[in-house]
């Protein structure tokens, strides 16, 4: 495996891990349901997506032929994650979940 591919795989894994971490922190720290919903959606789409892509690159480079399974996994993720987030939001709206009233400014005060 040449260095370029190694570099690509490593950075994709790191990117995915970073998104997963950020998503988890968001889930834990954000104040209300609707804002908290953003965390896990990013983690599943971008975080897992980057990891899966890394896997696809790695196996395409090391084994014969294209590794297509991961592409299928990504397609499934990109279809289902937004839908489930959307449905969760709709359900929360229906149940009129309490909203955080105070403005959160970008500086994070």
């Amino acid at each position: 495996m040449n260095l370029v591919i190694e570099f690509v795989v490593a950075s994709l894994i790191l990117l995915g891990a970073a998104f997963a971490l950020l998503g988890s922190v968001g889930l834990a720290r954000l104040p209300d349901f609707f804002t908290r919903l953003h965390g896990p959606t990013k983690a599943t789409t971008l975080g897992v997506g980057a990891m899966v892509l890394a896997s696809a690159v790695y196996f395409t480079a090391t084994q014969q032929g294209f590794s297509l399974h991961e592409i299928a996994v990504m397609v499934f993720l990109f279809i289902t994650a937004p839908v489930s987030a959307h449905l969760l939001a709709k359900a929360a709206l229906h149940r009129s979940a309490p909203e955080c009233s105070e403005e959160i400014d970008d500086a994070g005060k």
Partner: protein, 931 residues
């Protein structure tokens, strides 16, 4: 044609032609009768060429294998005894056919009657012609069944149905005992073929199992031949039309029991036990039934008890167990059949012409029907044992055998005295029959004006009475040849010298006959005080006793079932776990000490955490089981951890299946929960909860202990064999799938059959169910107005082909990599459920196949069919053939016949999931329409 083939042709003709009257009755009742007569005549014609060799002393055997492993063969035997019985069955059958045509009412089209009669005749021929004992039992049961149907011929009458039930319970129960006895006999003799069994008499009598076997066989014979104490069904069976009584319950079927005694005589007789049981039963029956017969005022009942008494006489003769007594027994079988059939027919004529059978009203008929009266008087004389009639000859032989029987050395007068007593009673009831019916004043208040019957109705009686006289006067010329071969067949050895003649000189038997005649007349003269005495005795009605017993048994069963099965699932589970605990505890404490446990795998941190979570989730389900939704969430956690455990221990197949099952079951559960209140009320008492908790903990601890013991005891498993044989034997490198579809394919076939049944049961249970879905949630909020969000609908549609592609992929690679028909079916199921959830049942139902049970059947047929296909190539069921091909993109796939099997599994799984889904969906469709 070969003679032996003719033998089988008789049975085939008889059985195959039995529905003919039913088919021909639309042309008229005469055609039905004609058909029956022609079938019997055809059987006689087929039998005719075989008579000469059998009379010459040969035994004809014909055999075809049926179930050779079980010793059951279609083998038939024609020797003297079978020939004599066949002639009786066919001859009397013909006469009864003619008689019944006139006897049964004009509006009866007779098809059912003659068909049943032919069926009975065929079965009876089967009994007497069987060489294989198991085959004999089969025919024996058919005679019981057809007798049941014939007794209940007047099916609108309660009395007939009750009588049929009693007869069937007694003879059918005896048939079961006979079956058990024959199985034992075959085990002892080493064969079910009569030839071998009859030759093994010495060995059989010395065997340890002789006594139980003999008792069981005798139970069969005694119930059929209405021996005391099983005699009570026969008088009840007189509810049958008189032709049936004449044919089945005097001439043929009740003779099957004594036929069996004669048939198995060389194998079973010759022991103390045989002598005491058979002759004891016969003697009690002989006297007891004759005594009762004397008091019957219903003349058909009188004849029924006299039949029982004569059957007791025949049984006694076989029980006496001298060679000449067996000859006398065979002789009396013939004689009794002839005179009793004619008596029943004559009684039927009287009944038919007078409309009642009560001898207190039917009197003085001689001047209304002199010919019938004369015939009946002659036949009754034969029954009483009057000289010059056939009954006299066999009764003489019986008397001669009782005199000086070797066993009663000390009390040599006992047996002759007993015989004479029976003779006196027989003369008594015969005298009553003759005198009360045909003389004794004027008829009293008869429903009809009696007169002679139609010419041809009387003909069968005339034929039989002529036979009585012929045998009685010229025995040596008429009956001796057939008696000789029949008796030789019974004894299987040279017959002792005997001479049939009316006059043997003035000896002890003749003296006994004289005493019997004189005593009988005296008895009849003294009848009035005797009747008055009998009237005062408490009477027992067999039918009432039987019904009481029957109802008691049924009530007891119902009570037992009610106590065990009260439709409470909690109780079933409690009973089940108690039983399992008792069984497990017994096994645990009675087993020998096992070797010390061997821990093969150290526990790692991840596994411990996972197991703790598993325990936590299980506890959560228990605590929160009333909040259904929360409980389901916890249950799904359990499922996921179990799937992870499978991954941890390198079982990707199981993990995949577990995940798919988890998804399907959670979705279906959620759908079902929609119709239930979100929380269930607390109803159990504390006591109940404690009991259940104790039971559940004990079961859990027990299962844990059993699992621990299993996992830590060192033993060889079969897994290595499967792993080694997977590629060479099954052509797939995924051992799990190869085991499922190949090595243990029969198991899988059974499992998918069960799954199919579950699907059908769900379908049947939910099909017409209408449930009211709640209109708002637990907090009283209405459901969202937008039932199927557009976003969801639109994005789920492209998902279907993708998911199906995955399913196909998993299916095809299953033989070599984790996957297979079961997982693929579940994935397809999930994909379809998704469409249903996204777009609603209306959308899904319009696009899904409607007749899901057909797909279910197709799946089962594919799995079983490919298994059966291997028979064509001479391999056992479910043998697979395999070869590999390579497809672009997908790679190498297994093209084995197992793939078709797997396709069957796939179809069954998909259809079951969809069936449950469609039924649950229909409920909500109803709901949607309403709102």
């Amino acid at each position: 044609m070969e003679p032996v083939h003719l033998l089988i042709a008789i049975i085939i003709v008889a059985f195959a032609a039995s529905p003919l009257p039913l088919l021909l009755q639309r042309c008229g009742r005469g055609y039905a009768a004609l058909a029956a007569a022609l079938v019997m005549a055809a059987c006689l014609t087929v039998l005719a060429p075989l008579v000469a060799p059998v009379m010459g002393g040969t035994t004809l055997l014909a055999s075809f294998a049926w179930l050779p492993d079980w010793g059951l063969a279609l083998s038939f035997r024609l020797d003297g005894l079978s020939l004599m019985f066949s002639l009786l069955i066919l001859g009397i059958g013909l006469l009864v056919t003619l008689y019944a045509y006139y006897y049964l009412p004009k509006h009866d089209t007779l098809g059912r009657f003659y068909t049943l009669l032919l069926l009975f005749m065929a079965a009876m021929l089967g009994v007497v012609l069987s060489e294989n004992l198991l085959l004999l039992v089969v025919f024996w049961e058919i005679t019981s069944l057809s007798s049941f149907l014939l007794i209940s011929y007047k099916r609108e009458s309660h009395e007939s149905r009750l009588a049929a039930r009693i007869a069937f319970a007694v003879t059918g129960g005896g048939g079961l005992a006979l079956f058990a006895g024959v199985l034992l006999l075959g085990h002892i003799a080493g064969s079910f073929e009569l030839t071998q069994v009859l030759a093994a008499g010495e060995h059989i009598r010395n065997h340890d199992l002789y006594a139980p076997m003999l008792i069981l066989v005798l139970l069969g014979a005694f119930t059929k031949s209405a021996q005391f104490p099983f005699h009570f069904w026969l008088p009840q069976a007189m509810a049958a039309p008189t032709p049936v009584s004449a044919y089945l319950h005097s001439a043929t079927m009740v003779k099957a029991g004594v036929f069996l005694l004669a048939r198995l005589h060389p194998a079973l007789a010759g022991s103390e036990l045989w002598f005491w049981v058979v002759s004891g039963t016969g003697a009690i029956t002989l006297v007891y039934a004759a005594y009762i017969a004397f008091y019957r005022y219903d003349f058909k009942g009188l004849l029924a008890y006299s039949t029982i008494s004569h059957l007791g006489l025949i049984t006694l003769l076989f029980g006496l167990d001298t060679r000449l007594s067996a000859v006398a027994g065979v002789f009396h079988i013939i004689n009794h059949a002839i005179f009793k059939a004619s008596l029943f027919m004559a009684a039927g004529i009287v009944d038919h012409e007078c409309g009642t059978r009560d001898m207190r009203r039917v009197n003085g008929l001689f001047k209304f029907m002199p010919v019938t009266a004369t015939l009946a008087i002659v036949a009754a004389g034969s029954m009483a044992g009057v000289p010059l009639l056939n009954g006299f000859l066999s009764k003489e032989m019986f008397f001669a055998e009782t005199v000086g029987h070797p066993v009663f050395d000390e009390m040599r007068w006992l047996l002759p005295a007993f015989a004479t007593l029976a003779g006196i009673l027989a003369v008594g009831y015969s005298a009553r029959f003759i005198h009360d019916v045909f003389f004794n004043g004027e008829p009293i208040d008869l429903p009809r004006q009696p007169h002679e019957p139609p010419r041809w109705m009387r003909a069968p009686v005339e034929v039989l009475v002529v036979l009585c006289l012929l045998v009685g006067i010229f025995p040596q010329w008429s009956i001796a040849p057939i008696l000789h071969v029949a008796a030789s067949a019974v004894l299987q050895q040279e017959l002792p010298a005997f001479h049939l003649a009316v006059w043997h000189g003035f000896n002890a038997p003749f003296l006994m006959s004289l005493v019997a005649l004189g005593g009988g007349i005296t008895l009849y003269a003294l009848r009035h005080p005797l009747y008055a005495f009998y009237e005062r005795l408490p009477s027992v009605h067999a039918s009432i006793v039987f019904e009481r017993f029957h109802n008691g048994l049924a009530g007891f069963s119902a009570a037992l079932v009610n106590r065990l099965d009260n439709a409470s699932l909690q109780r079933y589970l409690a009973l089940f776990f108690t039983f399992v605990l008792a069984l497990g505890g017994w096994a645990w404490f009675s087993a020998p000490a096992s070797p010390l446990p061997v821990v093969t795998q150290p526990a790692d941190a991840a596994s411990i955490v996972a197991l703790l979570m598993l325990a936590l989730a299980a506890a959560g389900v228990v605590v929160l089981h009333r909040q259904r939704l929360a409980a389901i969430v916890f249950a799904s956690v359990i499922g996921l951890i179990v799937a992870l455990t499978f991954v941890r221990f390198s079982a990707p197949d199981l993990a995949l299946t577990q995940l798919a099952v988890e998804v399907v079951s959670i979705v279906l559960l959620l759908l079902a929960l929609h119709y239930l209140p979100p929380a269930s009320p607390a109803e159990d008492s504390m006591q109940r909860i404690m009991r259940d908790a104790a039971l559940a903990s004990a079961a859990g601890v027990g299962l844990g202990a059993a699992a621990y013991a299993m996992l830590t005891s060192p033993f060889e498993t079969i897994s290595n064999f499967y792993l080694a044989q997977s590629v060479p034997g099954g052509g797939g490198s995924n051992a799990v799938n190869v085991i499922l579809v190949d090595f243990r394919g029969f198991d899988t076939l059974g499992e998918i059959t069960v799954l199919a049944m579950v699907g059908l049961a769900a379908h049947a249970l939910l099909d017409k169910l209408i449930l009211q879905a709640p209109t708002h949630d637990a907090d009283g909020r209405l459901w969202a107005r937008e039932r199927h969000p557009l976003f969801l609908q639109m994005l789920m549609r492209p998902l279907l082909p993708l998911a199906l592609m995955v399913s196909v992929f998993i299916f095809l690679r299953g033989h070599n990599l984790p996957g297979g028909g079961f997982v693929a079916g579940l994935v397809t199921g999930v994909a379809l459920i998704l469409q249903y959830l996204a777009s609603g049942i209306g959308f899904a139902a319009a696009r899904l196949p409607q007749r899901l049970p057909l797909f279910l059947a197709a799946g089962l047929a594919a799995a079983a069919g490919i298994g059966a296909l291997s028979w064509l190539f001479g391999f056992p069921f479910l043998t697979t053939a395999h070869g590999h091909i390579t497809l672009p993109l997908i790679g190498e796939i297994e093209l084995a016949s197992a793939l078709v099997f797997d396709l069957g599994v796939y179809l069954v799984v998909v259809s079951v999931v969809l069936m449950v889904l469609a039924e649950l969906g229909k409920l909500s469709l109803y709901h949607e329409e309403k709102t």
